[in-house]
Symmetry: C2
Subunit: 136 residues, 2 copies
């Protein structure tokens, strides 16, 4: 009981509520199966080869398709197009069309996207530590 089935874009996973009752103190104290969904969501939203780089490229001031592409070596138009669409669906990026001729399209990150900062910080910290640990 308490188990839940959760479907994210990638996977169907069954979470057993009992897994979350006895976690050590340094992991979330009373995490629930519900919580795990959120972790999977977050992971899904930012995983993939290009997503983080695209976000950072836009943050760096590249607002047009070609500019973003130029800023990220080796990315193909197919991938950039696909990932931008996903980022837009997830409200991390907005796409604005200016009806001039030729048509002008601008991408920008949302304020919400910036709420991401804390996670990025944590990941930098942890990843840095990780290199040291694994090297040993």
């Amino acid at each position: 009981m308490g188990d839940s089935v959760y479907i994210c874009n990638r996977y169907t996973v069954v979470y057993r509520a009992e897994l979350f009752s006895t976690m050590p103190r340094t992991l979330p104290k009373h995490a629930t199966a519900e919580d795990m969904k959120y972790v999977q969501d977050t992971l899904y939203v930012i995983s993939g080869k290009w997503k983080m780089l695209i976000i950072l490229a836009i943050c760096a001031g590249n607002n047009r398709f070609k500019d973003i592409q130029r800023a990220i070596p080796r990315i193909t138009t197919r991938m950039l197009s696909k990932e931008l669409k996903e980022l837009e669906q997830n409200k991390l990026v907005t796409r604005r069309v200016y009806d001039e001729s030729p048509v002008l399209i601008e991408y920008s990150t949302t304020a919400y996207c910036k709420s991401f900062g804390a996670i990025i910080h944590e990941m930098i910290r942890w990843g840095k530590e990780h290199r040291k640990i694994v090297k040993k």
Copy 2:
């Protein structure tokens, strides 16, 4: 200049140093291409369908192969075996062999693994927010 090529298990990516000079304040202030490697590392270590669940299952007190497998619905022996090996390489899990008969093998999470708590917390927070945002 300042660009770097980085190979993690999954991808070969080129980071352009210039991407990181003008990021908004709510993202890391002076993140470098170096920092992005760490983010990718972290992402890689915990991504995949089962890794987080395995960590949590062990935290919950399942220390033997069969116990972990029973705790995680639908995981196959192949996947559990494979992921445990990776987690061990990344020092998140230790494998101990007790030479009794029949042989007894125990998995446990490392203290290092628990340093992960902050990221999990952040991901829960962000993922929760995300559901609300995307629903609208």
